[in-house]
């Protein structure tokens, strides 16, 4: 049985010029990278462009990677910097634009054209509601939620990545969960009700 090589080993080999090692790293992190950037910019094509730019910057800076540190944490830090740089330059709104009031009725404008098929179909009702609620969080909450609950980073790793005190990350996660609970409750996903309220969609 082949033993899977660690990220640090692959990074070391990629730095030494191994295309296979770099390809393996990209394969491992392609989905987390695109998922993370998509949650930040809400545009599928732009998310892939930013992820590609992130991978290139990672390759260019492999010599700065400290093997003592977890690769995923370092990788997301580089990727986040790329994303933040882009958002600063292009001043793209990252929050509160996913829904608009239209004729008094709340309608979803979660970019259906650009949304992934996974976002539009095959989701349970709650997962679907959660996806939409996530898109309404403040960017700083959204990113810690994705990093913690989808990418499995620990709170200290997220704190190191974002340059924030560990307590602040804990606070962000706490508040993000609270806001998500409120957003879900507003759509009928409260503990008391048995079914989501009809006509209320995210």
């Amino acid at each position: 049985m082949a033993v899977q090589r660690s990220d640090a080993e692959l990074a070391r080999d990629a730095r030494a010029g191994s295309e296979a090692a770099y390809r393996e790293l990209v394969t491992r992190y392609a989905t987390p990278a695109v998922n993370f950037t998509y949650r930040m910019v809400r545009d599928r094509a732009l998310a892939e462009d930013l992820a590609q730019e992130g991978f290139l910057r990672v390759y260019q800076r492999l010599h700065t990677f400290d093997p003592e540190r977890r690769f995923s944490s370092w990788f997301f830090q580089v990727l986040r910097n790329v994303t933040i740089d882009h958002l600063r330059v292009h001043r793209i709104p990252t929050a509160s634009l996913d829904e608009l009031e239209e004729g008094g009725r709340r309608v979803s404008i979660v970019d259906r054209e650009n949304a992934s098929p996974e976002e539009l179909a095959g989701q349970g009702e709650l997962a679907s509601a959660m996806t939409a609620a996530l898109s309404r969080l403040r960017p700083e909450y959204r990113e810690v939620v994705v990093l913690r609950y989808q990418e499995g980073l620990t709170q200290p790793e997220i704190a190191q990545m974002l340059g924030l005190p560990a307590g602040t990350v804990k606070t962000y996660l706490h508040r993000a969960r609270k806001e998500l609970a409120e957003l879900l409750a507003a759509r009928g996903w409260s503990p008391e009700s048995r079914e989501p309220t009809p006509g209320k969609t995210l």
Binding site: A30, R177, S190
Partner: protein, 174 residues
Amino acid sequence: MNSDPIESDMDRKELNAWLMAEEGGDEEAADAAFAHLFSAVPRVEPRPMFVEQVVMAAWAWRARRRQMALLWAAAVVLVAAAAASASVASPVLARTVVKTIAFVGGHTVPWLVAYASVALHGWLTLGHVGAVIAGTLMTPGRVAALVGVELVGILAFYALRRVAGAERLGDVQV
């Protein structure tokens, strides 16, 4: 949308587990329950050619960098070789080059120094006028008052920035 009643019931149970943990103030249990619930949220997948494009882009950059390094190395070698062969083949040519550099330097540096002196003189004059005015108007009491007002202004600005920063970051511990 999936409206399978069994799945919906499972959703509801997981949601209840999370919300109860939140209400109970059990941070660890809430974190774990939410992680479990959130695992149902699908990730956004890249297009099939994404990995290939990324690897190609990185290797194209690597090739360009190597090319540039080679070009620089070749340029340095060429210049060194040209200089060496010129001095060996024609000492007169080498002497002429050095003399030209010395001539150009000798004529431009004094001009630059003179220009800088004139510019500096203007500033010095302004400084002198300022010092005379300040000497006439300022007393120790006025200086102390001015410094006091500036300090209060700086402190107010710092406090405002702290307040604005705390509001923006929501930087409060749970």
